[in-house]
Symmetry: C2
Protein backbone atom coordinates (compact mmCIF):
# COMPACT_ATOMS: atom_id res chain seq x y z
CA UNK A 1 0.00 0.00 0.00
CA UNK A 2 2.76 2.40 0.91
CA UNK A 3 4.46 3.83 -2.14
CA UNK A 4 7.15 5.49 -0.07
CA UNK A 5 7.97 5.76 3.61
CA UNK A 6 10.67 8.26 4.41
CA UNK A 7 11.57 9.20 7.95
CA UNK A 8 12.03 12.93 8.01
CA UNK A 9 15.11 14.31 9.71
CA UNK A 10 13.36 16.57 12.21
CA UNK A 11 11.14 14.22 14.24
CA UNK A 12 9.50 10.81 14.59
CA UNK A 13 7.15 11.19 11.64
CA UNK A 14 7.17 9.43 8.30
CA UNK A 15 5.93 10.56 4.91
CA UNK A 16 3.92 7.77 3.28
CA UNK A 17 2.57 7.70 -0.25
CA UNK A 18 -0.90 6.31 -1.01
CA UNK A 19 -2.86 5.68 -4.19
CA UNK A 20 0.40 5.16 -6.06
CA UNK A 21 1.68 8.54 -4.99
CA UNK A 22 -1.50 10.55 -5.60
CA UNK A 23 -1.37 11.81 -2.02
CA UNK A 24 0.87 11.51 1.03
CA UNK A 25 0.43 11.36 4.77
CA UNK A 26 2.68 12.73 7.47
CA UNK A 27 2.08 10.40 10.39
CA UNK A 28 3.77 9.15 13.55
CA UNK A 29 6.30 6.36 13.21
CA UNK A 30 4.65 4.59 16.14
CA UNK A 31 1.02 4.50 17.25
CA UNK A 32 -2.04 4.39 15.01
CA UNK A 33 -0.85 4.39 11.39
CA UNK A 34 -3.27 4.57 8.49
CA UNK A 35 -3.76 1.41 6.48
CA UNK A 36 -6.22 -0.57 4.49
CA UNK A 37 -9.21 0.31 6.71
CA UNK A 38 -8.92 3.98 5.75
CA UNK A 39 -8.54 3.14 2.05
CA UNK A 40 -11.59 0.82 2.10
CA UNK A 41 -13.64 3.50 3.85
CA UNK A 42 -12.60 6.14 1.31
CA UNK A 43 -13.45 3.73 -1.53
CA UNK A 44 -17.09 3.64 -0.33
CA UNK A 45 -17.62 7.16 -1.72
CA UNK A 46 -19.07 7.06 -5.27
CA UNK A 47 -16.75 8.06 -8.10
CA UNK A 48 -19.11 10.87 -9.11
CA UNK A 49 -19.06 12.47 -5.65
CA UNK A 50 -18.90 16.26 -5.49
CA UNK A 51 -19.36 18.47 -2.46
CA UNK A 52 -18.33 18.64 1.18
CA UNK A 53 -17.21 15.51 2.99
CA UNK A 54 -16.45 15.12 6.70
CA UNK A 55 -13.89 12.49 7.72
CA UNK A 56 -14.90 11.80 11.33
CA UNK A 57 -12.03 10.40 13.40
CA UNK A 58 -9.62 11.29 10.62
CA UNK A 59 -6.32 10.62 12.36
CA UNK A 60 -3.63 11.97 10.03
CA UNK A 61 -6.30 12.30 7.31
CA UNK A 62 -5.89 9.14 5.24
CA UNK A 63 -9.53 8.47 4.29
CA UNK A 64 -10.48 12.09 3.68
CA UNK A 65 -7.39 12.84 1.60
CA UNK A 66 -7.96 9.63 -0.38
CA UNK A 67 -11.41 10.95 -1.36
CA UNK A 68 -9.95 14.37 -2.21
CA UNK A 69 -7.33 12.69 -4.40
CA UNK A 70 -9.83 10.49 -6.26
CA UNK A 71 -12.78 12.94 -6.52
CA UNK A 72 -11.71 16.31 -7.96
CA UNK A 73 -14.97 17.97 -6.89
CA UNK A 74 -14.68 16.97 -3.23
CA UNK A 75 -13.79 19.31 -0.38
CA UNK A 76 -12.86 17.43 2.78
CA UNK A 77 -12.88 18.34 6.49
CA UNK A 78 -10.64 16.13 8.61
CA UNK A 79 -12.26 15.93 12.08
CA UNK A 80 -9.91 14.70 14.80
CA UNK A 81 -10.02 15.29 18.56
CA UNK A 82 -6.47 14.21 19.41
CA UNK A 83 -4.23 17.33 19.20
CA UNK A 84 -1.20 15.31 18.14
CA UNK A 85 -3.03 13.49 15.33
CA UNK A 86 -4.77 16.70 14.25
CA UNK A 87 -1.26 18.19 14.02
CA UNK A 88 -0.18 15.40 11.69
CA UNK A 89 -3.32 16.01 9.59
CA UNK A 90 -2.40 19.71 9.27
CA UNK A 91 1.16 18.81 8.31
CA UNK A 92 -0.19 16.34 5.74
CA UNK A 93 -2.34 19.03 4.14
CA UNK A 94 0.41 21.63 3.85
CA UNK A 95 3.07 19.18 2.67
CA UNK A 96 4.28 20.00 -0.84
CA UNK A 97 3.49 16.44 -1.95
CA UNK A 98 -0.20 17.29 -1.47
CA UNK A 99 -0.11 20.69 -3.23
CA UNK A 100 -2.87 19.57 -5.63
CA UNK A 101 -5.30 18.89 -2.74
CA UNK A 102 -4.34 21.65 -0.33
CA UNK A 103 -7.15 24.04 -1.26
CA UNK A 104 -9.78 21.35 -0.79
CA UNK A 105 -8.78 20.03 2.64
CA UNK A 106 -8.98 21.43 6.18
CA UNK A 107 -8.72 20.19 9.76
CA UNK A 108 -11.39 20.53 12.45
CA UNK A 109 -9.87 19.70 15.83
CA UNK A 110 -12.98 18.52 17.66
CA UNK A 111 -14.53 15.54 19.40
CA UNK A 112 -16.99 13.82 17.06
CA UNK A 113 -19.37 13.27 19.98
CA UNK A 114 -19.86 16.98 20.72
CA UNK A 115 -23.54 17.97 20.76
CA UNK A 116 -25.68 21.06 20.21
CA UNK A 117 -24.02 24.44 20.26
CA UNK A 118 -20.61 23.02 21.13
CA UNK A 119 -20.68 20.89 17.96
CA UNK A 120 -21.78 23.79 15.80
CA UNK A 121 -19.20 26.11 17.35
CA UNK A 122 -16.49 23.56 16.52
CA UNK A 123 -17.34 23.82 12.82
CA UNK A 124 -19.76 20.91 12.50
CA UNK A 125 -22.94 22.78 11.50
CA UNK A 126 -26.33 21.18 10.86
CA UNK A 127 -26.67 19.81 7.33
CA UNK A 128 -23.30 21.28 6.32
CA UNK A 129 -21.95 18.14 4.66
CA UNK A 130 -22.88 15.96 1.68
CA UNK A 131 -21.15 12.86 3.03
CA UNK A 132 -19.55 11.69 6.27
CA UNK A 133 -16.95 8.95 6.67
CA UNK A 134 -16.46 7.25 10.01
CA UNK A 135 -13.55 5.14 11.15
CA UNK A 136 -14.32 4.92 14.88
CA UNK A 137 -12.01 3.30 17.44
CA UNK A 138 -12.35 -0.41 16.72
CA UNK A 139 -11.44 -2.55 19.63
CA UNK A 140 -14.05 -3.31 22.23
CA UNK A 141 -12.91 -2.45 25.74
CA UNK A 142 -12.76 -6.18 26.49
CA UNK A 143 -9.98 -6.64 23.95
CA UNK A 144 -6.41 -6.72 25.15
CA UNK A 145 -5.21 -3.12 25.23
CA UNK A 146 -2.31 -2.10 23.05
CA UNK A 147 0.84 -1.13 24.95
CA UNK A 148 1.20 2.13 23.10
CA UNK A 149 -0.84 5.06 24.39
CA UNK A 150 -1.56 6.73 21.05
CA UNK A 151 -2.53 3.40 19.56
CA UNK A 152 -4.80 2.71 22.53
CA UNK A 153 -6.49 6.06 22.20
CA UNK A 154 -7.34 5.33 18.56
CA UNK A 155 -8.42 1.71 19.05
CA UNK A 156 -10.28 1.30 22.32
CA UNK A 157 -14.01 1.37 21.76
CA UNK A 158 -16.36 3.08 24.14
CA UNK A 159 -19.84 1.95 25.10
CA UNK A 160 -22.48 3.44 22.81
CA UNK A 161 -19.85 4.86 20.49
CA UNK A 162 -21.68 4.19 17.24
CA UNK A 163 -24.83 5.73 18.64
CA UNK A 164 -22.95 8.95 19.43
CA UNK A 165 -21.02 9.07 16.17
CA UNK A 166 -24.08 8.39 14.02
CA UNK A 167 -26.06 11.00 15.96
CA UNK A 168 -23.45 13.57 14.97
CA UNK A 169 -23.38 12.28 11.39
CA UNK A 170 -27.18 12.57 11.17
CA UNK A 171 -26.95 16.17 12.36
CA UNK A 172 -24.24 17.36 9.98
CA UNK A 173 -25.24 15.53 6.76
CA UNK A 174 -27.89 17.13 4.53
CA UNK A 175 -31.03 15.21 3.49
CA UNK A 176 -30.16 12.51 0.90
CA UNK A 177 -26.50 12.88 1.81
CA UNK A 178 -24.50 9.73 2.58
CA UNK A 179 -22.53 8.16 5.40
CA UNK A 180 -20.11 5.26 5.51
CA UNK A 181 -18.65 3.52 8.53
CA UNK A 182 -15.99 0.82 8.72
CA UNK A 183 -16.12 -1.47 11.73
CA UNK A 184 -15.78 -5.00 12.99
CA UNK A 185 -18.67 -7.33 12.15
CA UNK A 186 -19.48 -7.59 15.85
CA UNK A 187 -20.54 -3.95 15.80
CA UNK A 188 -23.22 -4.54 13.16
CA UNK A 189 -26.16 -4.72 15.62
CA UNK A 190 -25.15 -1.45 17.27
CA UNK A 191 -24.56 0.27 13.91
CA UNK A 192 -27.92 -0.81 12.47
CA UNK A 193 -29.71 0.22 15.67
CA UNK A 194 -28.04 3.64 15.59
CA UNK A 195 -28.97 4.11 11.91
CA UNK A 196 -32.68 3.53 12.63
CA UNK A 197 -34.80 6.60 11.90
CA UNK A 198 -31.67 8.48 10.79
CA UNK A 199 -30.36 6.72 7.70
CA UNK A 200 -31.99 4.35 5.24
CA UNK A 201 -30.95 2.40 2.18
CA UNK A 202 -28.26 0.67 4.24
CA UNK A 203 -25.72 -1.29 2.22
CA UNK A 204 -23.63 -3.74 4.22
CA UNK A 205 -20.44 -4.91 2.55
CA UNK A 206 -18.43 -7.64 4.31
CA UNK A 207 -14.63 -7.82 3.93
CA UNK A 208 -13.14 -11.31 4.29
CA UNK A 209 -9.41 -12.09 4.41
CA UNK A 210 -10.08 -15.25 2.35
CA UNK A 211 -13.22 -16.67 0.79
CA UNK A 212 -13.65 -19.42 3.40
CA UNK A 213 -13.01 -17.23 6.45
CA UNK A 214 -15.49 -15.04 8.39
CA UNK A 215 -15.48 -11.32 7.69
CA UNK A 216 -12.99 -9.19 9.63
CA UNK A 217 -14.51 -5.85 8.66
CA UNK A 218 -17.79 -4.44 7.44
CA UNK A 219 -18.38 -1.22 5.57
CA UNK A 220 -21.92 0.07 6.08
CA UNK A 221 -23.20 2.86 3.86
CA UNK A 222 -26.52 4.68 4.24
CA UNK A 223 -28.38 7.75 3.12
CA UNK A 224 -29.96 10.47 5.23
CA UNK A 225 -33.79 10.38 5.25
CA UNK A 226 -33.90 7.43 2.83
CA UNK A 227 -36.71 4.96 3.46
CA UNK A 228 -35.17 2.13 1.45
CA UNK A 229 -34.39 -1.20 3.11
CA UNK A 230 -31.09 -2.91 3.82
CA UNK A 231 -29.00 -4.55 1.09
CA UNK A 232 -26.32 -7.14 1.77
CA UNK A 233 -23.70 -6.58 -0.91
CA UNK A 234 -21.34 -9.10 -2.48
CA UNK A 235 -18.36 -9.41 -0.16
CA UNK A 236 -14.84 -8.23 -0.86
CA UNK A 237 -12.30 -11.03 -0.48
CA UNK A 238 -8.92 -9.46 0.21
CA UNK A 239 -6.51 -12.23 -0.69
CA UNK A 240 -6.21 -14.61 -3.59
CA UNK A 241 -7.12 -18.23 -2.76
CA UNK A 242 -3.44 -19.05 -2.18
CA UNK A 243 -0.70 -16.86 -0.79
CA UNK A 244 -0.80 -13.48 0.89
CA UNK A 245 -1.03 -11.23 -2.14
CA UNK A 246 -4.02 -8.91 -2.52
CA UNK A 247 -6.49 -9.89 -5.19
CA UNK A 248 -6.33 -7.56 -8.22
CA UNK A 249 -9.73 -6.07 -7.28
CA UNK A 250 -8.58 -5.39 -3.70
CA UNK A 251 -5.41 -3.79 -5.00
CA UNK A 252 -7.44 -1.53 -7.32
CA UNK A 253 -9.73 -0.43 -4.46
CA UNK A 254 -6.77 0.10 -2.19
CA UNK A 255 -5.13 2.37 -4.74
CA UNK A 256 -8.12 4.50 -5.73
CA UNK A 257 -8.61 2.71 -9.09
CA UNK A 258 -11.97 1.11 -8.17
CA UNK A 259 -14.74 1.81 -5.69
CA UNK A 260 -16.01 -0.56 -3.04
CA UNK A 261 -19.66 -0.41 -4.11
CA UNK A 262 -18.90 -0.16 -7.83
CA UNK A 263 -20.58 3.23 -8.18
Amino acid sequence: MTASAVTTASDDSTLDGFHRGAFHLVQPQRGHRAGMDAMMLAASVPGSFKGRLADLGAGAGAAGLAVAARCGGATVALVERDPEMAGYARRSIVHEANAALRDRASVIEADVTLTGKARIAAGLADGAFDFALMNPPFNAAADRPSPDALRRSAHVMEEGLFERWLRTAAAIVRPRGGISVIARPGSLPEILAAMQRRFGGAQVLPIHPRAHEPAIRIVVRGFRSSRAGLTLMPALVVHDPTGNRFSPHTDAINNGRATLFGD
Copy 2:
Protein backbone atom coordinates in the same frame (compact mmCIF):
# COMPACT_ATOMS: atom_id res chain seq x y z
CA MET B 1 -34.70 -30.30 -5.71
CA THR B 2 -37.77 -32.42 -6.15
CA ALA B 3 -36.91 -36.07 -6.61
CA SER B 4 -40.48 -36.95 -7.45
CA ALA B 5 -43.74 -35.06 -7.72
CA VAL B 6 -46.76 -37.25 -8.08
CA THR B 7 -50.27 -35.86 -7.96
CA THR B 8 -52.30 -38.20 -5.83
CA ALA B 9 -55.64 -39.34 -7.20
CA SER B 10 -57.77 -38.19 -4.29
CA ASP B 11 -57.18 -34.43 -4.05
CA ASP B 12 -55.07 -31.42 -5.03
CA SER B 13 -51.96 -32.52 -3.16
CA THR B 14 -48.63 -33.72 -4.48
CA LEU B 15 -46.07 -36.04 -2.96
CA ASP B 16 -42.60 -34.56 -3.35
CA GLY B 17 -39.30 -36.21 -2.55
CA PHE B 18 -36.46 -34.28 -0.89
CA HIS B 19 -32.86 -35.10 0.02
CA ARG B 20 -32.76 -37.58 -2.87
CA GLY B 21 -35.75 -39.44 -1.56
CA ALA B 22 -34.76 -39.52 2.12
CA PHE B 23 -38.12 -37.95 3.02
CA HIS B 24 -41.28 -36.81 1.28
CA LEU B 25 -43.80 -34.03 1.68
CA VAL B 26 -47.51 -34.10 1.04
CA GLN B 27 -48.30 -30.53 0.07
CA PRO B 28 -50.85 -28.49 -1.86
CA GLN B 29 -50.43 -28.26 -5.59
CA ARG B 30 -51.02 -24.52 -5.37
CA GLY B 31 -50.13 -22.01 -2.67
CA HIS B 32 -47.00 -22.01 -0.55
CA ARG B 33 -44.85 -24.96 -1.60
CA ALA B 34 -41.66 -25.86 0.18
CA GLY B 35 -38.43 -25.12 -1.62
CA MET B 36 -34.86 -24.13 -1.15
CA ASP B 37 -35.53 -21.77 1.77
CA ALA B 38 -36.70 -24.67 3.91
CA MET B 39 -33.72 -26.82 2.91
CA MET B 40 -31.25 -23.99 3.68
CA LEU B 41 -32.86 -23.42 7.06
CA ALA B 42 -32.69 -27.14 7.89
CA ALA B 43 -29.04 -27.21 6.81
CA SER B 44 -28.21 -24.66 9.54
CA VAL B 45 -28.59 -27.38 12.21
CA PRO B 46 -25.21 -28.98 13.05
CA GLY B 47 -24.66 -32.55 11.83
CA SER B 48 -24.14 -33.74 15.41
CA PHE B 49 -27.51 -32.41 16.59
CA LYS B 50 -29.51 -34.59 18.97
CA GLY B 51 -32.61 -33.65 20.89
CA ARG B 52 -35.90 -31.84 20.42
CA LEU B 53 -36.27 -29.33 17.60
CA ALA B 54 -39.22 -27.01 16.95
CA ASP B 55 -39.92 -25.99 13.35
CA LEU B 56 -41.82 -22.71 13.82
CA GLY B 57 -44.04 -21.89 10.85
CA ALA B 58 -43.49 -25.38 9.49
CA GLY B 59 -46.00 -25.39 6.64
CA ALA B 60 -46.14 -28.98 5.39
CA GLY B 61 -43.04 -29.73 7.50
CA ALA B 62 -40.17 -29.44 5.00
CA ALA B 63 -37.46 -27.97 7.26
CA GLY B 64 -38.29 -30.06 10.32
CA LEU B 65 -38.51 -33.31 8.40
CA ALA B 66 -35.24 -32.49 6.62
CA VAL B 67 -33.54 -32.28 10.04
CA ALA B 68 -35.20 -35.53 11.15
CA ALA B 69 -34.00 -37.22 7.96
CA ARG B 70 -30.40 -36.00 8.32
CA CYS B 71 -30.00 -36.21 12.14
CA GLY B 72 -31.01 -39.63 13.49
CA GLY B 73 -31.09 -38.37 17.08
CA ALA B 74 -33.49 -35.51 16.36
CA THR B 75 -37.15 -35.39 17.37
CA VAL B 76 -39.06 -32.63 15.60
CA ALA B 77 -42.25 -30.71 16.38
CA LEU B 78 -43.82 -29.05 13.34
CA VAL B 79 -45.56 -25.89 14.58
CA GLU B 80 -48.11 -24.46 12.14
CA ARG B 81 -51.15 -22.28 12.79
CA ASP B 82 -52.91 -22.75 9.45
CA PRO B 83 -55.26 -25.76 9.81
CA GLU B 84 -54.94 -26.71 6.14
CA MET B 85 -51.11 -26.65 6.19
CA ALA B 86 -51.03 -28.44 9.56
CA GLY B 87 -53.18 -31.09 7.89
CA TYR B 88 -50.61 -31.52 5.14
CA ALA B 89 -47.89 -31.79 7.80
CA ARG B 90 -49.82 -34.60 9.52
CA ARG B 91 -50.32 -36.37 6.20
CA SER B 92 -46.61 -35.99 5.48
CA ILE B 93 -45.70 -37.62 8.80
CA VAL B 94 -47.98 -40.63 8.42
CA HIS B 95 -47.17 -41.22 4.75
CA GLU B 96 -45.50 -44.60 4.23
CA ALA B 97 -42.61 -42.88 2.42
CA ASN B 98 -41.66 -41.32 5.79
CA ALA B 99 -42.00 -44.50 7.88
CA ALA B 100 -38.40 -44.16 9.09
CA LEU B 101 -39.12 -40.71 10.60
CA ARG B 102 -42.67 -41.17 11.82
CA ASP B 103 -41.82 -41.86 15.46
CA ARG B 104 -39.66 -38.73 15.68
CA ALA B 105 -42.08 -36.17 14.23
CA SER B 106 -45.29 -34.55 15.45
CA VAL B 107 -47.50 -31.58 14.61
CA ILE B 108 -48.43 -28.74 16.97
CA GLU B 109 -51.26 -26.73 15.45
CA ALA B 110 -50.64 -23.37 17.10
CA ASP B 111 -49.82 -19.76 16.38
CA VAL B 112 -46.11 -19.14 16.99
CA THR B 113 -46.92 -15.76 18.57
CA LEU B 114 -49.00 -17.18 21.42
CA THR B 115 -47.80 -16.03 24.82
CA GLY B 116 -47.86 -17.19 28.44
CA LYS B 117 -50.28 -19.93 29.42
CA ALA B 118 -51.83 -20.12 25.94
CA ARG B 119 -48.44 -20.94 24.45
CA ILE B 120 -47.68 -23.55 27.09
CA ALA B 121 -51.13 -25.08 26.75
CA ALA B 122 -50.55 -25.40 23.00
CA GLY B 123 -47.51 -27.61 23.63
CA LEU B 124 -44.77 -25.00 23.53
CA ALA B 125 -43.44 -25.25 27.07
CA ASP B 126 -40.63 -23.15 28.56
CA GLY B 127 -37.18 -24.53 27.75
CA ALA B 128 -38.68 -27.64 26.14
CA PHE B 129 -36.56 -27.53 22.96
CA ASP B 130 -32.88 -27.79 22.10
CA PHE B 131 -33.23 -25.90 18.82
CA ALA B 132 -35.83 -23.83 17.01
CA LEU B 133 -36.03 -23.21 13.27
CA MET B 134 -37.95 -20.22 11.95
CA ASN B 135 -39.15 -19.60 8.42
CA PRO B 136 -41.49 -16.64 9.04
CA PRO B 137 -43.68 -15.09 6.35
CA PHE B 138 -41.24 -13.24 4.14
CA ASN B 139 -42.81 -10.47 2.18
CA ALA B 140 -43.16 -7.08 3.79
CA ALA B 141 -46.72 -5.80 3.67
CA ALA B 142 -45.58 -3.18 1.18
CA ASP B 143 -44.75 -5.88 -1.36
CA ARG B 144 -47.30 -6.69 -4.02
CA PRO B 145 -49.58 -9.33 -2.55
CA SER B 146 -49.77 -12.71 -4.22
CA PRO B 147 -53.13 -13.47 -5.86
CA ASP B 148 -53.47 -16.79 -4.12
CA ALA B 149 -54.89 -16.70 -0.60
CA LEU B 150 -52.87 -19.57 0.89
CA ARG B 151 -49.73 -18.17 -0.63
CA ARG B 152 -50.53 -14.74 0.77
CA SER B 153 -51.13 -16.12 4.22
CA ALA B 154 -47.67 -17.70 4.23
CA HIS B 155 -45.82 -14.75 2.70
CA VAL B 156 -47.21 -11.47 4.00
CA MET B 157 -45.10 -10.15 6.81
CA GLU B 158 -46.60 -8.44 9.80
CA GLU B 159 -45.15 -5.52 11.72
CA GLY B 160 -42.91 -6.69 14.57
CA LEU B 161 -43.09 -10.28 13.42
CA PHE B 162 -39.48 -11.20 14.19
CA GLU B 163 -39.80 -9.68 17.66
CA ARG B 164 -42.78 -11.92 18.39
CA TRP B 165 -41.30 -15.05 16.85
CA LEU B 166 -37.96 -14.65 18.61
CA ARG B 167 -39.72 -13.96 21.90
CA THR B 168 -41.42 -17.34 21.60
CA ALA B 169 -38.16 -18.99 20.51
CA ALA B 170 -36.38 -17.52 23.54
CA ALA B 171 -39.08 -18.93 25.80
CA ILE B 172 -39.12 -22.47 24.44
CA VAL B 173 -35.39 -23.06 23.82
CA ARG B 174 -33.25 -24.23 26.75
CA PRO B 175 -30.11 -22.31 27.82
CA ARG B 176 -27.28 -22.87 25.26
CA GLY B 177 -29.85 -24.20 22.78
CA GLY B 178 -29.85 -22.80 19.26
CA ILE B 179 -32.11 -20.93 16.88
CA SER B 180 -31.95 -20.30 13.17
CA VAL B 181 -34.06 -17.99 11.06
CA ILE B 182 -34.15 -17.54 7.30
CA ALA B 183 -35.27 -14.15 6.02
CA ARG B 184 -34.68 -11.43 3.51
CA PRO B 185 -31.61 -9.26 4.09
CA GLY B 186 -33.90 -6.28 4.70
CA SER B 187 -35.09 -7.93 7.90
CA LEU B 188 -31.59 -8.06 9.40
CA PRO B 189 -31.98 -4.94 11.60
CA GLU B 190 -35.23 -6.25 13.08
CA ILE B 191 -33.81 -9.74 13.61
CA LEU B 192 -30.65 -8.48 15.34
CA ALA B 193 -32.70 -6.13 17.52
CA ALA B 194 -35.04 -8.97 18.52
CA MET B 195 -32.07 -11.23 19.35
CA GLN B 196 -30.62 -8.67 21.79
CA ARG B 197 -30.56 -9.94 25.36
CA ARG B 198 -32.08 -13.26 24.21
CA PHE B 199 -29.53 -14.88 21.92
CA GLY B 200 -25.80 -14.36 21.46
CA GLY B 201 -23.07 -15.73 19.25
CA ALA B 202 -25.04 -14.63 16.19
CA GLN B 203 -23.78 -16.02 12.90
CA VAL B 204 -25.08 -14.25 9.81
CA LEU B 205 -24.76 -16.19 6.55
CA PRO B 206 -25.72 -14.39 3.33
CA ILE B 207 -27.11 -16.32 0.35
CA HIS B 208 -26.41 -14.75 -3.06
CA PRO B 209 -27.86 -15.97 -6.36
CA ARG B 210 -24.53 -15.18 -8.04
CA ALA B 211 -21.21 -13.90 -6.72
CA HIS B 212 -21.68 -10.37 -8.07
CA GLU B 213 -25.31 -9.92 -6.96
CA PRO B 214 -26.64 -8.75 -3.57
CA ALA B 215 -27.86 -11.39 -1.14
CA ILE B 216 -31.49 -12.52 -1.51
CA ARG B 217 -31.63 -14.39 1.79
CA ILE B 218 -29.87 -14.46 5.12
CA VAL B 219 -29.72 -17.31 7.58
CA VAL B 220 -29.07 -16.06 11.12
CA ARG B 221 -28.15 -18.55 13.82
CA GLY B 222 -27.77 -17.80 17.51
CA PHE B 223 -27.51 -19.46 20.89
CA ARG B 224 -29.64 -18.91 23.97
CA SER B 225 -27.84 -17.03 26.78
CA SER B 226 -24.59 -16.84 24.80
CA ARG B 227 -22.57 -13.65 25.31
CA ALA B 228 -20.45 -14.07 22.19
CA GLY B 229 -20.48 -11.40 19.48
CA LEU B 230 -21.72 -11.47 15.93
CA THR B 231 -19.87 -13.31 13.15
CA LEU B 232 -20.40 -12.61 9.46
CA MET B 233 -19.87 -15.96 7.75
CA PRO B 234 -18.59 -16.62 4.23
CA ALA B 235 -21.57 -16.32 1.90
CA LEU B 236 -23.23 -19.14 0.02
CA VAL B 237 -23.36 -18.45 -3.72
CA VAL B 238 -26.18 -20.51 -5.20
CA HIS B 239 -25.32 -20.63 -8.87
CA ASP B 240 -22.17 -21.31 -10.81
CA PRO B 241 -20.65 -18.22 -12.47
CA THR B 242 -22.39 -19.09 -15.73
CA GLY B 243 -25.74 -20.75 -16.29
CA ASN B 244 -28.55 -21.54 -13.91
CA ARG B 245 -27.26 -24.74 -12.38
CA PHE B 246 -26.68 -24.94 -8.63
CA SER B 247 -23.06 -24.97 -7.56
CA PRO B 248 -21.96 -28.41 -6.27
CA HIS B 249 -21.81 -27.05 -2.70
CA THR B 250 -25.34 -25.63 -2.94
CA ASP B 251 -26.60 -28.92 -4.33
CA ALA B 252 -24.99 -30.81 -1.45
CA ILE B 253 -26.58 -28.50 1.15
CA ASN B 254 -29.92 -28.69 -0.62
CA ASN B 255 -29.83 -32.47 -0.47
CA GLY B 256 -28.71 -32.96 3.12
CA ARG B 257 -25.13 -33.90 2.15
CA ALA B 258 -23.51 -30.79 3.67
CA THR B 259 -24.42 -28.23 6.32
CA LEU B 260 -24.69 -24.50 5.84
CA PHE B 261 -22.25 -23.57 8.63
CA GLY B 262 -19.94 -26.53 8.05
CA ASP B 263 -20.51 -27.97 11.53
